[in-house]
C-alpha cells in the first residue's frame, strides 16, 4: 500500500470482497465485477466525508456507450460509473479511446461532422442522457467543465478569461463576478501570483500558469463534473506537481475524470482507475487494486511496461 493510501485509510489493511455496488474507494478497496454484463445498484452515499464504509453515489453513469468517427468505431460498449467527489483516472496506450471517451461527456465531437454516439451517459441527480440526440449539446457543456492538454487561454486579460464562463451564463453583478473570480483563482492555486495584475494579458503567463488559469476559468461557473484531458503532459515537472496537488484538493467539491498517459500520475491522484485498450475498457477498479492486483493480464502487462 502506498503511503498516501495508508494515510487515508488510517493504515487499515483491506481485503478483496465481491460486491456489486460501487463504494467509496477511500474507505475500502473493493474490486468491482467486470464491465461486461455488469448490473449496478445505486446506493445513496452519505454526504459528509467520515472515515467509515460508505458506498459512493455515481455522479455519472455510462451504459453501453459506442462511438464512431465516420465508419471507424472508436469506443466499444463502454459501461462504467463515475463516483461523486472522486477522481477517476483513465489510462491506456495512445490512441485507445481515452480522450475520445472524455470528449463524449461534453459533446465535443459534435463540433466536427460525421461522428455518431450510441448508448447512454447519464448525469445525476436528474439522470439526463448527455449523448441523446435530443439533448442539446450546450447542456452538458454548461454543467461540465473541461481542461485541455495544451493550455488555451483566450486572447484577453486574466480577469476576462475567468469571467468568460460566468458572463455567458448571464451573471452580471460585478461584485459577484469579482468574488467568483477570486475564489476560482484561489482554487486553482494561482491567486497570489496574479492578484495584482488581473488586467494583464493571459499570454504573459508561463505555461504552467496558463494551465492553472484554464482550470480557474473552468471552475468559476461551478461545474458539476470536471474533465481533465492530459492536463499536465505539456508542462514541466514542477508545474505538473502543482496541478496534481490542485486536483487532489478539488476532489472534495467536484467529480473529476482525468485522462493521463502517465501511470504514476494516475496512481498518485485518483481513487478509481479504468484501463482502456483499443476502444474498450479492459478493467476498472479502485486505483490501488488496479496497480497492485489487476485482474486482467493485459492490465498487468501495460502497468509493468510490457507494451504501450
Amino acid at each position: 500500500m502506498s503511503i498516501r493510501q495508508a494515510q487515508r485509510s488510517g493504515g487499515v489493511e483491506v481485503e478483496a470482497r465481491e460486491v456489486e455496488a460501487p463504494e467509496r474507494a477511500e474507505r475500502l478497496a473493493v474490486p468491482m465485477a467486470e464491465p461486461k454484463g455488469l448490473t449496478q445498484q445505486r446506493t445513496q452515499a452519505a454526504a459528509a466525508p467520515e472515515p467509515r464504509a460508505e458506498p459512493a453515489k455515481p455522479k455519472v453513469e455510462i451504459r453501453n456507450l459506442n462511438f464512431w468517427y465516420g465508419d471507424f468505431q472508436a469506443l466499444k460498449d463502454i459501461s462504467i460509473p463515475v463516483g461523486e467527489r472522486q477522481v477517476t483516472a483513465l489510462i491506456g496506450p495512445s490512441g485507445c479511446g481515452k480522450s475520445t471517451f472524455l470528449r463524449c461527456f461534453n459533446r465535443m465531437h459534435d463540433l466536427y461532422p460525421g461522428n455518431r454516439y450510441q448508448g447512454e451517459i447519464l448525469l445525476y441527480p436528474d439522470g439526463i442522457n448527455l449523448v441523446d440526440r435530443r439533448t442539446d449539446p450546450m447542456l452538458p457543456r454548461l454543467r461540465i467543465g473541461m481542461v485541455f492538454q495544451k493550455p488555451n487561454p483566450f486572447p484577453k486579460s486574466i480577469y476576462e478569461n475567468v469571467a468568460a464562463g460566468l458572463r455567458i451564463r448571464g451573471v452580471r453583478r460585478k461584485s459577484l463576478i469579482d468574488d467568483k473570480i477570486e475564489l476560482a483563482l484561489k482554487q486553482a492555486s494561482l491567486w497570489d501570483e496574479v492578484k495584482d495584475r488581473l488586467g494583464t494579458s493571459a499570454y504573459e503567463l508561463s505555461g504552467g500558469q496558463q494551465q492553472r488559469l484554464c482550470i480557474a476559468r473552468t471552475l468559476a461557473p461551478d461545474p458539476e463534473v470536471l474533465l481533465l484531458d492530459e492536463p499536465t503532459s505539456a508542462l514541466d515537472p514542477i508545474s505538473t506537481a502543482r496541478i496534481e496537488e490542485l486536483v487532489d484538493g478539488l476532489r472534495e467539491q467536484y467529480t473529476i475524470v482525468i485522462v493521463t498517459h502517465n501511470m504514476q500520475q494516475a496512481a498518485r491522484v485518483s481513487q478509481r482507475t479504468a484501463f482502456f485498450h483499443l476502444g474498450r475498457i479492459v478493467e476498472w477498479n479502485d486505483t490501488e487494486l488496479i496497480f497492485t492486483n489487476p485482474k486482467e493480464s493485459m492490465t498487468q502487462d501495460y502497468i509493468t511496461g510490457r507494451f504501450g
Binding site: M138, L166, L176, L183
Partner: protein, 310 residues
C-alpha cells in the same frame, strides 16, 4: 467553501440555451442574407448589362470602328488595342514579377535592403491605380519621351499588377516542401539549377494562376491608362506586328496611339445619348465575359492544384 450562487438550477439551462440558440440562428440568417444580397447585385448587374447590350452584339459591332453614329459604332480598335497592350503587360510583368518573387523567397538575405524591398511591395499593392497613371505620365510619357503609346500603357499596367505576380510567385514557391530543395542540393545542384529545374516547374501552376488574375485585373483598368493619354476616339488600328516582308516582325505598333475596351465603354457611357449607352452595355458585356472567363480559369487551376496536393 464553494459558493453555488452561480450554478443555475437545471430548469434555467433550458431558457439560457433557447435564447442563445435563437441569437445563433439570427446571425446565421444575417450571414446568408449578406451573401444573397451580394449575389443578387451581381446577378442584377449581369442581367442589366445583357438586357441593354445584347441587342447591339453582332459581328459588325466587333469589327467596326467607333463612329459618331451610335448604330454604326463598334469596338474593333478597342479590343485590338486591349490585346496588344495585354501582350506588352504580360511580357513585362511576368519576368519582373517572377524574378522579384524568386529573389525574395530564395536569394534575399535577411538585411535591411530586403526589408525595404518587401515594405515597398506591400505598400505598392495599396497605391491607387490612378497614381500609377500619374507616374507613367510624368516619367514615361514626358521625362523619358516615350509618348502616349501602347508601350507606355503596357508598362504602367505591368507595374500595377506587379505586386499580384510577386505575391503569387512567393506563395507558390513557399508551398514547395523543403525536402525538394534539400534533395536537389544534396545531388550537387547549385542554387540557380535548383530553382530552374525543380522549384520553378513546381511553382508554375501557382504562378500561372497569379498571372491570370493579374491580367484579368489589368484588362479592366481604365484610370491609369486614361491618365497617360489614351485617346477615346480612335478610328484606326495600330500597325500590324507581323508583315510579309523581312524581318516579318516589326515593333512600330508599340509606338502607336490606341484605345482600350474599358476606355471605349467609358467614352460611350459619358455621352448623353441613350443609344450610346447601349453600345456601352454591349462593350461591357464583352469585357465582363472576358474577365469572368479569366477569373474562372484561375479559380479552376487553383482547384486543380489543391486536388493534386491531396
Amino acid at each position: 467553501m464553494a459558493t453555488s450562487a452561480a450554478r443555475l438550477p437545471p430548469a434555467d439551462y433550458g431558457r439560457l440555451i433557447g435564447r442563445a440558440r435563437r441569437v445563433d440562428l439570427i446571425f446565421a440568417g444575417a450571414g446568408l442574407l449578406v451573401m444573397l444580397v451580394a449575389m443578387g447585385m451581381l446577378m442584377a448587374l449581369i442581367v442589366d448589362l445583357a438586357v441593354d447590350g445584347m441587342g447591339r452584339l453582332s459581328w459588325d459591332f466587333l469589327t467596326s470602328f467607333p463612329s459618331r453614329r451610335p448604330e454604326r459604332a463598334g469596338i474593333l480598335s478597342a479590343w485590338v488595342g486591349t490585346s496588344l497592350v495585354m501582350i506588352v503587360t504580360a511580357f513585362l510583368a511576368v519576368p519582373l514579377g517572377v524574378g522579384a518573387g524568386l529573389y525574395l523567397e530564395e536569394y534575399a538575405p535577411k538585411n535591411w535592403m530586403t526589408d525595404v524591398i518587401e515594405i515597398n511591395v506591400t505598400n505598392l499593392a495599396g497605391v491607387p491605380s490612378i497614381i500609377y497613371g500619374l507616374l507613367a505620365l510624368g516619367l514615361f510619357v514626358y521625362a523619358f519621351g516615350l509618348g502616349e503609346t501602347i508601350l507606355v500603357a503596357g508598362m504602367v499596367l505591368a507595374l500595377l499588377i506587379l505586386p499580384v505576380v510577386i505575391v503569387a510567385t512567393r506563395e507558390a514557391i513557399r508551398s514547395i516542401p523543403q525536402e525538394v530543395r534539400e534533395g536537389a542540393y544534396a545531388l550537387g545542384a547549385d542554387q540557380w539549377q535548383t530553382v530552374r529545374m525543380y522549384l520553378l516547374p513546381a511553382a508554375r501552376p501557382g504562378i500561372l494562376t497569379g498571372t491570370i488574375v493579374g491580367l484579368a485585373r489589368a484588362i479592366g483598368e481604365t484610370a491609369p491608362v486614361i491618365t497617360i493619354g489614351a485617346l477615346t476616339f480612335i478610328a484606326f488600328l495600330p500597325p500590324a506586328p507581323v508583315q510579309p516582308g523581312f524581318p516579318f516582325i516589326n515593333f512600330e505598333w508599340l509606338n502607336s496611339p490606341f484605345t482600350l475596351m474599358p476606355i471605349q465603354m467609358f467614352n460611350w457611357i459619358s455621352r448623353p445619348q441613350a443609344a450610346f449607352h447601349l453600345n456601352a452595355a454591349a462593350a461591357g458585356l464583352v469585357l465582363l465575359v472576358m474577365t469572368l472567363l479569366m477569373n474562372g480559369l484561375a479559380i479552376y487551376i487553383r482547384y486543380r492544384i489543391r486536388k493534386g496536393m491531396r
